[in-house]
């Protein structure tokens, strides 16, 4: 019996038909729904690019580890006795069992409980049980947990790349790198800690749907906006003043290249600096915080950092977002299933009350029971269902093409409702997907 081949099965995907999926101002929905394309994304994007693995504050002491995936690859971010943070593949070199089953913890060594092999915190193979069963050619020094070849960090954010060679992390982040400061320097001591809990969520939709979109809030979050009419400082209402999502707002969309995009709230929030400072003055330690920020960064920068509340609203392609008071990791599971974790950021050098206020802001909008995240997830699921129709398969992302411009720093800028981020990300997606190994 002859198998009828899916025209888009793995070996039928060519540069030509990938290129036909991403056009000027529109994308074919198969880029979001097709299993073979998804498999190629894992290989060519997640198993090659710089992928965010975790923050150094998640492994503060030697022996601390955090288990996370890079694409389909389970890895461990672990701090060694030498204080170095490594990223190791969480797979026993003997028969392939995942070695560490708990998500995080502290240990002196790793032991695989299939046949008892043990590994050092560096990944080096420490002991093989019943060593005599292996001949003289068996070299323990070649049998350690595989270390992910490239690991680099930027302001405590640890990235790793399974590909042995490529551009440096700094080159990859480009102009987006400076936006990490908007989060980290919301602390007067420049310290953040990802130790205040994590929302773990899942939606039935493609991973690329959770992007940077300034067009949706007044519609997807209409129920929240209705609530702000009753109390403007409720929840994250205190961060947003004077409808930042109107086409007339000073808010912008900005694309830095390499898939990195942000909703640029800086000018719009700075305009309301006095309201932000006044809001903070009602929180215990808020007046001191404003003073400390001025001392640490000077008036101009302090006012910007305070206004922005540690929310650069930056998406670092493909799996990291710095949004609100959280660090978000996007993990693709299948073409139609995505997991998103949202880890609360605790600021160093501020009062407990300020951190609690920020926790409460996060709780109000984000997570599976928040006022915002579930409606986002709901809409992504509706998109995924709708995209199954391929009668006219095109997703329209042309908004603002006629009015976008290149800023002095080289980034592409549009109004807040423009689809500058979507176009940038899909163009970079195509670039990665059509790159030879």
């Amino acid at each position: 019996m002859q198998q009828v081949e899916n025209p888009l099965s793995a070996h039928a995907i060519t540069h030509v038909n990938l290129q036909s999926l991403v056009q000027d101002g529109r994308v074919h929905s198969r880029a979001y729904t097709n299993q073979a394309i998804f498999d190629l994304e894992i290989d060519r994007i997640f198993h090659r690019s710089w992928i965010y693995v975790g923050h150094e504050s998640e492994v503060p002491k030697p022996g601390d580890y955090q288990a996370r995936p890079i694409g389909r690859t389970p890895v461990l971010m672990v701090r060694g006795k030498d204080n170095k943070v490594r990223v190791l593949v969480n797979r026993c070199r003997h028969r392939g069992a995942q070695v560490v089953e708990t998500e995080s913890g502290n240990t002196r060594m790793f032991r695989c409980w299939y046949h008892g092999w043990t590994y050092e915190l560096t990944g080096a193979l420490a002991e093989v049980t019943e060593r005599g069963g292996y001949g003289p050619d068996f070299r323990t020094q070649n049998m350690g947990l595989v270390e992910v070849p490239r690991v680099a960090s930027h302001r405590g954010f640890v990235f790793a790349s399974i590909k042995a060679e490529g551009e440096s992390l700094a080159e990859f982040l480009g102009g987006a790198a400076a936006q990490f400061d908007m989060l980290v320097d919301a602390s007067p001591t420049g310290e953040i800690f990802l130790d205040a809990g994590t929302n773990k969520t899942e939606y039935m939709g493609n991973w690329k749907l959770v992007g940077m979109d300034g067009y949706h809030p007044n519609f997807v979050h209409a129920s929240v906006v209705a609530g702000w009419a009753r109390n403007s400082e409720s929840g994250i209402g205190a961060m947003h003043r004077e409808d930042p999502f109107s086409d007339e707002a000073l808010t912008l969309t900005r694309y830095y290249g390499n898939g990195h995009a942000m909703l640029d709230f800086r000018a719009q929030r700075l305009k309301s600096y006095k309201k932000h400072a006044e809001f903070l003055s009602k929180v215990a330690g808020g007046v001191k915080y404003v003073e400390d920020m001025h001392k640490a960064y000077g008036k101009e920068r302090a006012e910007l950092l305070i206004s922005l509340s540690g929310d650069p609203h930056l998406g670092v392609f493909p799996n990291l977002q710095l949004i609100g008071n959280q660090v978000r990791i996007i993990t693709p599971i299948t073409p139609g299933i995505t997991q998103v974790t949202m880890s609360m950021v605790r600021l160093g050098g501020v009062s407990d009350e300020i951190n609690t206020m920020r926790v409460r802001q996060h709780e109000s909008f984000y997570g599976p029971a928040g006022s915002g995240s579930p409606d986002d997830a709901e809409i992504f699921e509706r998109v995924q269902r709708g995209m199954m129709a391929e009668v006219n398969p095109w997703i329209e992302i042309s908004r603002g093409m006629h009015r976008e411009f290149v800023d002095t720093d080289g980034s592409v800028v549009g109004r807040i409702t423009d689809e500058v981020p979507q176009r940038g990300q899909m163009k970079y997606w195509l670039h990665l997907m059509t790159q030879a190994a």
Binding site: K200, S223, G227, S234, G235, T356, H362, E363, D375
Partner: protein, 165 residues
């Protein structure tokens, strides 16, 4: 049966009937009637990651005081709460009800477990967990002062949780 035991049993039965009524109002999305079961000061708390998370120090799934719960229910009552449009069809069973500490005149603390089936958007999901109610008697009626819900799945990737849990 002695009088003391009868009193304990009738107290337990009164609490059970209260929890059943609360569950029914939540299942039916009768927000106004459910909100009326609370005392003026209230805490509705659903932690994530761990049952022992410090309130306010670590993020919870739900951490509502009266104004926040009022806003949550207001929002669900608008036409724009997309994740509840259409609404989830819900059915929950309350069991293992134990009075941990009880005073007939003032109320006390009761623990129980629940098993909840949700049907929405072509999917059938199960939520389960333990709950603690701090109940107060006001004008003869039982009211909720605090409700803590410890979901079994609070540390794995979760779907939307936009109905009353």
């Amino acid at each position: 049966m002695d009088n003391q035991k009868l009193t304990q049993w009738s107290a337990l039965r009164e609490v059970e009937l209260f929890l059943f009524r609360e569950a029914e109002l939540a299942d039916q999305h009768l927000y106004k009637e459910w909100f009326a079961l609370w005392t003026e000061e209230l805490l509705y708390w659903v932690p994530c990651n761990s049952d022992e998370q410090a309130i306010g120090r670590k993020i919870a799934l739900i951490n509502d005081n009266r104004p926040e719960l009022d806003e949550r229910l207001f929002r669900l009552g608008t036409k724009f709460a997309h994740a509840q449009n259409p609404k989830s069809r819900l059915s929950r069973v309350i069991g293992n009800v134990v009075l941990q500490q009880w005073d007939a005149d003032h109320g006390g603390c009761v623990t129980s477990r629940f098993n909840l089936t949700e049907v929405r958007a072509g999917r059938q999901l199960t939520f389960a967990g333990r709950q603690t109610h701090l109940l107060a008697r006001q004008n003869g009626e039982l009211r909720m002062r605090e409700k803590h819900v410890y979901l079994a799945n609070h540390d794995i990737p979760m779907p939307n949780l936009t109905f009353i849990i």
